[in-house]
């Protein structure tokens, strides 16, 4: 039997105006990043409800990353400022509960930063992969 190489599952929430476009640009420029990263498009990073993040973990995601416009560049002027507060508190809480802090991240990626998107994802996947499977937060029923 072949032992399957461990590949983490990463959910990336990307805001439509900057980061999703940044991811598109990474594609346009053929900048590779691991296929484990699956992007969900949201209008703004402030649309990301902590529930979505926990749900992802519950269903077996090994890492969740939220990407939005750089502070000051939000298409909706202030959405990412709320994201910044919410996620700072949420991530701190997850850490408080003993969840590895490397499993969560917020990164500001502009529409022009295709390269940053790719490096960020490479780096994030590598970090999460080194932690191994997400055991502390998953719902065992949902395991493949």
């Amino acid at each position: 039997m072949q032992i399957k190489e461990y590949k983490p599952l990463i959910v990336a929430f990307c805001c439509n105006w900057c980061s999703y476009a940044g991811a598109d640009l990474a594609g346009n420029n053929r900048l590779n990043y691991p296929a484990e990263v699956k992007i969900i498009r949201v209008p703004c990073s402030c649309r990301v409800n902590p529930m979505f993040i926990l749900r992802a973990f519950q269903r077996g995601a090994d890492g969740v990353i939220i990407c939005g416009c750089h502070p000051g560049d939000c298409h909706y002027t202030s959405g990412n400022y709320y994201t910044r507060r919410r996620m700072a508190l949420l991530f701190s809480m997850l850490d408080f509960l003993g969840i590895e802090r490397e499993r969560t991240r917020v990164e500001w990626v502009s529409a022009a930063e295709g390269a940053k998107f790719a490096t960020t994802m490479n780096d994030f996947v590598e970090k999460v992969a080194s932690l191994g499977e997400n055991k502390r937060l998953e719902d065992l029923r949902c395991k493949r």
Binding site: G27, I40, C44, N49, M51, R55, R59, Y76, Y82
Partner: protein, 664 residues
């Protein structure tokens, strides 16, 4: 249950080279709700779109998933296709298997596996999609222009020209703005008054335009197409409808020692005044801080000499409420204070002046009737030093200057130096510059003429110190090209002060919920593609409130803003983006969290009566989203603890479905 059709695009080899498109189509066939699945070379082509339309008809589809390039590319295309096939356009979802899959992954198994998961997520989402219809709101066909300088004037004229009524609100007693204070304009050297005052008269005579001078905007509520604005008309103690502008009061007023702000304090005016001869409206205004009658009830001379009976010492500030469909900000600029740059001795010598003061000093209607003399002693200057970039391009901007280039100084300084040399060839003129920036039609030619034909001495370098000594101003400067330190005995030093947005802009931006940059310039909706619109719908930008601009640029931007306003006012109804927030009244607590995070002020509260299960009624405060104002960011949906607030098109259960599909 939806009946979903899945359409997998090859994009030639763009997708097909790394993703086994047939396998994707095959895999998605088994997803819940999917009744049809196929692949094609170019889905966006006419043939591809026809394929979708036929499938909709044939399989009675209710939803469509297109696995193709980024939705930023062709979402609109496929929505149109759906609409043409009789589906609601918002029943389409795109799985991005090109930019975010085939182009970034190398081998076919990986690409195919991911493409299938992305397709599944899109299918999961479409299963929960509901048809969306954009909301509509009416448009009040009247525009408000805030600021009556050349930007505001031009915008108002253009809007009125299209047949829409316009109101101009101007804080000063007259419209005209900075341009009215200028002498000549570059690069053609037309006299500013000659080209501006006819426009001011046009404004006064246009029956579509109302001018609220000596007034300010007090409060703004509402939204695009439906703004409610309160305008405070300050008491000028003169009845505008009666005053004929004859000037008898101005002549007779005994209080003549008030610094004249129109001439930047270089001469005095009476307590009752008309800023300048061509003022519009040509109506006198009493300065309440200077008028003896208003201060202590002693005088009343102006009332006695006024044959029209226009003087009214009891006049009070008046609040005017009006509805507007669009608002144009044209609040303009001011030179920055020179207080923090006293190495140039601005506060130590009257003969160190700013460029705007220089304009007044050379203006035929200015304090010296256009005769260029030293302000300190009225003598003819022999050497004039112009210093550029004072306060512009400063790194330590927080305390002193501005980080940006003020853009207009290079050209007006060339103009000043040239005009001096033209009129007074005996005067030596030096211009100290860091760079001469002259991008603009006929601009560089103009600057070269100043140097080559008029003999203006341009020195690359900066002035380090100006020392008033006796009657002279000792100017110590560097000449970088000759690697020398220069010491010039000047009679007049003119500082090209950086310009900054008018102080009224910041509170106005708050009222309008329009965003600003760190320098207090209004931000445009898009720096290249939407340069005259604010991100706040229905608010437009004209002139230097958006960034430093010269007159030609201001006028063209003013016209552009006007055309945007006309485009808006020409509509009877506005159709919005249907992907907006909406609140479930049965779950809403009325806690105000959503209202506080809404960047657009789209959320209001109403008390609503609810029937309870026990047949009693209960009145509760619930949130309502104004569909015309909401832009669909979703900030409120997370702020809402009860989950009453959701975002159409990106509903919580849709996103959770995507998460589940990806994590499954």
């Amino acid at each position: 249950m939806q009946r979903i059709g899945v359409f997998v695009c090859w994009c030639g080899s763009n997708i097909a080279a790394t993703v086994d498109v047939q396998a994707v189509a095959q895999a998605l066939k088994n997803e819940p709700g999917v009744v049809f699945s196929t692949d094609y070379q170019y889905m966006c082509s006419q043939a591809g779109q026809d394929m979708i339309k036929e499938a909709v008809a044939e399989h009675n589809l209710t939803g469509i998933v297109v696995c193709s390039c980024s939705p930023r590319m062709h979402e609109a295309t496929f929505r149109k296709t759906a609409a043409a096939a009789g589906l609601n356009p918002y029943m389409v979802e795109i799985a991005n298997i090109r930019e975010q899959c085939s182009w970034v992954h190398k081998d076919i198994p990986t690409g195919t596996e991911k493409a299938i998961i992305l397709g599944k997520a899109a299918v999961a989402k479409v299963n929960l999609n509901t048809p969306l219809t954009p909301g509509e709101s009416p448009v009040t066909k009247r525009a408000l222009v805030i600021g009556g300088g050349i930007a505001g004037i031009q915008t108002a004229l253009d809007i009125a020209d299209a047949g829409f009524p316009v109101d101009i609100v101007e804080t000063k007693p007259t419209i005209g703005g900075k341009m009215a204070q200028l002498d000549k304009t570059f690069p053609t050297l037309d006299c500013a008054a000659c080209i501006l005052t006819p426009k001011m008269v046009d404004v006064a005579q246009n029956d579509k335009i109302r001018i609220f001078s000596y007034s300010e905007v007090e409060e703004v509520s509402g939204f695009v197409g439906n703004f409610d604005v309160k305008i405070k008309k300050r008491a000028r103690y003169v009845k505008e409808d009666l005053c004929t502008g004859c000037g008898a009061c101005v002549e007779k007023c005994p209080m003549k020692k008030v610094p004249n702000e129109f001439n930047l304090g270089m001469d005095n005016r009476p307590a009752i005044y008309i800023p300048f001869a061509q003022a519009v409206p040509k109506v006198a205004t009493i300065d309440p801080n200077a008028c003896n009658m208003l201060k202590n009830g002693k005088c009343g001379l102006c009332a006695r000499v006024c044959t029209a009976g226009a003087i009214d010492y009891t006049q009070k500030d008046e609040i005017i409420e009006e509805k507007y469909g669009a608002i144009v900000v044209a609040t303009g600029f001011n030179p920055i204070s020179m207080d923090k740059f006293d190495e140039f001795a601005y506060s130590q010598s009257k003969d160190v002046i700013t460029s705007l003061e220089f304009e007044r000093l050379t203006n035929a209607a200015g304090p010296t009737a256009g005769k260029l003399v030293r302000p300190s002693d009225g003598e003819h200057p022999h050497t004039i030093v112009f210093v550029q970039c004072v306060g512009s391009r400063c790194e330590n901007c927080a305390e002193k200057g501005k980080e940006y280039c003020s853009k207009i100084c290079c050209m007006y300084t060339a103009k000043h130096a040239m005009l001096v040399r033209d009129k007074y060839p005996d005067i030596e003129t030096y211009v100290f510059y860091i760079d001469v920036r002259t991008p603009g039609k006929n601009f560089d030619e103009f600057y070269r003429r100043a140097v080559e034909e008029y003999g203006v001495k341009y020195v690359k370098g900066m002035v380090g110190k100006v020392s008033p000594e006796g009657k002279k101003l000792k100017v110590q400067a560097s000449d970088l090209l000759n690697n020398k330190q220069l010491n010039i005995d000047a009679d007049l030093v003119v500082l090209a002060a950086a310009i900054e947005p008018d102080k009224s802009a910041r509170p106005l931006a708050t009222m309008l919920t329009a965003s600003m940059d760190t320098n207090d310039f209004f931000t445009e909706a898009h720096p290249k593609l939407r340069p005259v619109e604010s991100p706040t719908a229905g608010v437009f930008l004209s002139g230097a409130c958006q960034g430093p601009k010269d007159i030609p640029e201001t006028v063209s931007q003013a016209g552009a803003a006007a055309s945007k306003v006309i485009g808006l006012l020409a509509k009877d109804k506005l159709t919005g983006n249907p992907c907006i927030a909406s609140s479930d009244e049965n779950m809403c607590n009325g806690c105000s969290s959503c209202e506080r995070v809404c960047p657009y002020g789209a959320i209001t509260y109403v008390d609503k009566e609810f029937r309870m299960p026990d047949r009693t009624t209960k009145v509760r405060r619930v949130a309502q989203v104004n569909p015309a104002v909401c832009q669909g960011c979703g900030a409120c949906t997370v702020a809402c603890p009860s989950g009453a607030m959701d975002l159409r098109g990106f509903a919580s259960n849709q996103i959770i479905a995507e998460v589940d599909a990806i994590c499954k």
